[in-house]
């Protein structure tokens, strides 16, 4: 994969005085019909932020319903096997519904209630955000429609059933490559049409302002906890924090409270897919160019005519052509670095974590584990490597069974 071309980059950022910028990135590029709703959301969110009752309700549910705080677990056997840094796992996979997505879905559902919206829509890739949204809608008695690419419905079938069991309507999307980007297009079309009574619970730190900020704020709890937990356990900060990056919500949540800790290296891991050619991966920082997709200005995998490229990843949750605008800023400033793991490396990482620690990670999270497997041996034994395990792998059993033979592995130990 060639490093991101800097020569060929168009003049960044259509100049703007509007809010919601992360450096040159972000903004609000939407059909006018949605502007009133985005402004209303902006205002409602500001009021909620200033309202102690909102935080009290959110925190109580995060604790008693979702299972926060999640543990920070010292992965002793994995650390020993890799022979370098001490590896700590932030266990978002232990949350109710099995991934970090519920932190955000719950927060946004509370905003929807505040705004008096009775109908919820969402998009989903891996199905984890869809399940989280269906769950909070069941909890609050809200109507729920989830858009999902038909390819993702096929490969994440258990989550389709879970959403329906929870009472949500799952609408398949066959356009394009029938994955996450296409589901977002369809969700936005629904929103434009039903904006008067509908709240769009967007699942990642993506889209038009104020979504990237709202989603990040609801995911910040990950690093708020992990920072306290590592200080309690080791009396020092981690040297490196690693997280996978789809739209970027678990990563921004895992990074955020360390942004001012210059000693902490932040590493985002994108989907390297099965090759370096456009269309074979979803590594936006390794072949993407700044552009506007689905409401925001950020890195986009696209051809030289500005048509958005198709993507590939074994992991539905990372299989997306753009990335949250705050990551684009962190990338350009160098505060975070972004690398990628290939499909086969992620698959191998699932097996490694399963067998050393008894933890089956989601294929998305396995991309972060794969990077940890590369990094840890290069770090001293006194170093601390923290990995965000964004979700658990139950949803992926079908893919794993097809992609990975376990034969002979018994003999390997």
């Amino acid at each position: 994969m060639s490093p991101v071309e800097t020569i060929n980059r168009p003049a960044p950022a259509p100049k703007s005085s509007a809010p919601g910028r992360f450096g040159a990135y972000g903004g609000r590029y939407v059909p006018e019909t949605l502007m009133a709703a985005l402004l209303e959301l902006d205002q409602c969110y500001a009021e909620a932020q200033a309202d102690p009752a909102f935080h009290a309700e959110l925190n109580a549910l995060l604790q008693t319903y979702c299972g926060r705080p999640t543990p920070l677990y010292f992965a002793k056997r994995l650390s020993e096997q890799l022979g370098g840094a001490k590896i700590y796992l932030k266990r978002e996979d232990l949350l109710h519904t099995g991934a970090h997505k519920i932190n955000n879905a719950l927060g946004q559902a509370l905003l929807a209630k505040r705004m008096g919206k009775t109908r919820i829509i969402a998009e989903t890739g891996a199905g984890q955000h869809g399940v989280a949204t269906a769950t909070v809608c069941a909890l609050f008695g809200l109507e729920c429609v989830v858009y999902m690419g038909e390819e993702d419905m096929r490969r994440q079938e258990p989550n389709v059933y879970r959403m329906r069991l929870l009472g949500a309507e799952v609408r398949g999307v066959s356009a394009g490559s029938a994955t996450l980007k296409d589901a977002i297009n369809e969700a936005m079309r629904d929103w434009v049409t039903n904006v008067r009574n509908t709240f769009y619970i967007l699942g990642s730190a993506l889209g038009s302002h104020p979504y990237p900020t709202i989603v990040r704020d609801f995911q910040r709890v990950i690093s708020r906890e992990s920072r306290e937990q590592i200080l309690a356990a080791e009396d020092k900060l981690p040297d490196t924090v690693v997280a996978c990056v789809g739209g970027g919500s678990n990563a921004i949540g895992a990074f955020y409270e360390y942004l001012n800790d210059a000693s902490v290296a932040l590493v985002g891991v994108e989907a390297g897919g099965r090759g370096t050619a456009l269309g074979e991966h979803a590594a936006r920082f390794h072949g993407g160019i700044p552009g506007v997709l689905q409401g925001t200005y950020s890195y986009v995998l696209q051809d030289d005519a500005g048509q958005v490229s198709s993507t590939h990843s074994v992991s539905a949750g990372l299989d997306y052509a753009s990335v949250g605008p705050e990551h684009a800023m962190l990338h350009d400033s160098g505060r975070a670095t972004y690398t990628y793991a290939m499909d086969h490396e992620a698959l191998e990482a699932v097996k490694v974590l399963s067998r050393t620690e008894g933890i089956i990670p989601a294929l998305e999270s396995a991309h972060a584990i794969a990077e940890a497997i590369k990094l840890a041996p290069k770090m001293g034994k006194d170093k601390i490597l923290m990995v965000n395990v964004s979700g658990r792998g139950d949803k992926d059993i079908g893919i794993l069974r097809n992609e990975m033979s376990l034969e002979g592995s018994e003999a390997k130990k």
Binding site: P10, E32, T33, M35, G291, V292, G306, Q307, V308
Partner: protein, 259 residues
């Protein structure tokens, strides 16, 4: 500037460039102008047309699959301009192909291609600083969209920043045909007219001469898109210009407002 609506009903015609092919797009545009269309909106096909319904989505998909690029659309624009000096021509695009091309370079190229103005579906007034500058520098008309959900202060900004005409969206929703005109439509045009010194064109869902006639009663022009694109979809390329001309003639004639 060739954007004017002299004879009622004012008529704006949308075509997805490159569907079925660029030469046919050019010929259809010319046929539409000859049949009485005041303005042609030449749509740049995009991979992710999230403000469009199924008809225009399919047209975009076909045109993108054929490899239609912004440069090609500019060339087609030039050909239409060469053939019809007085036609109004607007380039209609999602933002990304324009950003990829470069905003400043695009505005200059659009001017060179003989366009009168530009409409960007996902560009709102607050984000439009650089865009407006580029339009101004090249004497091009920026056309913004106004929605039934837009509060008055937004309508004011939209009207004040648009040139040529303002595009009022008839209903809350995406593009596509409908049998009845939304009740929202007339209210929005009236609200916009408080602020707009320039013509107001109403679009989304307008598909029959009867619709055009109703719209002519309260707006300066009607925009017809999906109905035409659907016609193109089911007509063989060789016959499409004639079919488009015929349909536009029906819209223009049947759309005369009753006085």
């Amino acid at each position: 500037m060739s954007i004017k609506f002299e004879k009622k009903p004012g008529l704006v015609i949308y075509l997805t460039a490159g569907d079925p092919d660029l030469a046919t797009t050019r010929d259809m545009a010319i046929a539409a102008v000859d049949a009485g269309a005041d303005v042609i909106e030449l749509g740049v096909p995009f991979s992710d047309p999230l403000a469009d319904g199924p008809v225009i989505q399919r047209a975009s998909e076909r045109a993108v699959a054929k490899g239609t690029r912004l440069e090609d659309v500019l060339k087609t624009c030039r050909e239409i301009r060469n053939a019809r000096a007085n036609a109004g021509i607007i380039l209609f695009s999602y933002l990304n192909p324009v950003v990829r091309y470069g905003m400043t370079a695009f505005a200059k190229a659009a001017k060179d291609a003989g366009a009168d103005g530009v409409l960007l579906t996902d560009m709102i007034v607050e984000e439009a600083g650089e865009y407006l500058e580029a339009m101004r520098a090249n004497d091009l008309a920026p056309v913004f969209l106004a929605a039934p959900t837009s509060p008055d202060e937004r309508l004011k900004a939209i009207a004040e920043n648009s040139r040529g005409f303002v595009y009022a969206i008839s209903r809350v929703g995406i593009t596509g045909t409908q049998t009845e005109l939304a009740a929202d439509a007339e209210t929005l045009v009236k609200r916009l007219k408080q602020f707009a010194q320039i013509p107001v064109a109403l679009g989304f869902g307008i598909s029959t001469p009867e619709h055009v006639k109703t719209v002519a009663g309260f707006a300066d022009a009607a925009v017809v898109g999906s109905a035409l694109v659907a016609l193109v979809e089911k007509t063989p390329a060789a016959e499409a210009p004639r079919a488009v001309g015929e349909f536009v003639r029906q819209l223009k004639e049947g759309g005369q407002p009753s006085t």
